[in-house]
Amino acid sequence: MSKVVKQYNSSAKFLHWTSALLIVALFLLGLWMVDLTYYNQWYKIAPYWHKSIGLCLLALTLFRLIWKIITTAPPIEGKKWEIQSAKLAHAAIYLILFCIFISGYMISTADGRPIELFNWFLVPGFGSFFDNQEDIAGVIHFYLAVTLITLSTVHALAALKHHFINKDNTLNKMLRFK
């Protein structure tokens, strides 16, 4: 028996908003850190945070997907094409996120070095799978990050449109914390 749920559950809301915050933070941190000069005091610590937070987001996203499968989400509202594009956009966001995780990992581990996850433990590296991996993965990482942020912006605008123009339950079901 499945009852109709009107709200995302609290965990799903927490996961959504934490992820959104971390993604925007990682994007800005990423852009900022690659422009630091070698003699900047943040030159070493900023990438260390970027990689550590990025890997935490990976763990969080894996959990989020499991959570999504084992819990029930409220139905998406709107016209048929809106529902379909929302589903497509959500799937694309998850897919792009994983490609960003993989490409980011491939930059740092191209020489076989592990990635330090804060000072908790080392995530092993498996070296290069192709020539100039750090450069190619870096370019892919950058364009995917820009794509993700663009898509998320469209996604957020769509949510606001549903809230203020259609005045439906779309944003409320992700917003209300009990």
């Binding site: 990438p47 930059i107 750090e134 450069d135």
Partner: protein, 189 residues
């Protein structure tokens, strides 16, 4: 001992058969018996050693007519390897050598002249980071002869100092120059 070295080399040189005249050699990158290494200051406290993994080249060499020697080398700048992927990515980026835009570096010799100490001075044009500049390599002939696999080889080593500013590569702190250490072994054609 040292006094004997020069006459001994001269005698050895004279013993080299006549067909050794200005022979052409292909630099043995296939067997990796050649390497292009660089050394850059790190903060002024120590040095970072790195190399370019991909290059090719050829040279002509006649021990009896050093000035007829010639050498050309092409280096794939994206093959820079300092044994640290994140650092390589940074050095290869637009902040430094811009390997995606200036993907090859090229050295073409113009003159070669013997030196009193038995070495040779190789002058030529180096194109790096889109800038062509005359440089001089301080080289030494190491040896030549038959290899165990039916070929004939000759090898050199050379050093030169490149000022980064000469090639419009941004200078950072104490790292204003790069010392190149070149090991070149050629297989005669």
């Amino acid at each position: 001992m040292k006094k004997l070295l020069l006459p001994a080399t001269l005698v050895a040189a004279m013993l080299i058969p006549t067909f050794a005249n200005a022979a052409d050699y292909i630099i043995d990158t296939k067997g990796a018996h050649a390497s292009i290494n660089f050394k850059v200051s790190h903060l002024g406290y120590s040095f970072i050693q790195g190399r370019f993994n991909t290059f090719d080249g050829k040279f002509s060499f006649d021990p009896k007519n050093i000035s007829a020697s010639k050498v050309t080398v092409n280096v794939d700048t994206s093959s820079l390897d300092s044994n640290h992927a994140e650092r390589d990515k940074h050095i290869k980026s637009g902040d430094f050598i811009n390997a995606s835009k200036f993907s090859t570096a090229k050295f073409v010799s113009t003159t070669a002249s013997p030196k009193a100490d038995g070495g040779l001075t190789i002058s030529g044009d180096l194109t790096l980071h889109g800038v062509t500049k005359a440089i001089t390599i301080d080289a030494h002939f190491i040896g030549e002869g038959k290899d165990p696999w039916g070929g004939y080889r000759a090898g050199f080593q050379g050093t030169t100092r490149l000022q980064l500013a000469d090639f419009a590569i941004p200078v950072m702190g104490s790292s204003s120059y790069v010392d190149m250490e070149l090991h070149v072994e050629g297989v005669r054609l």
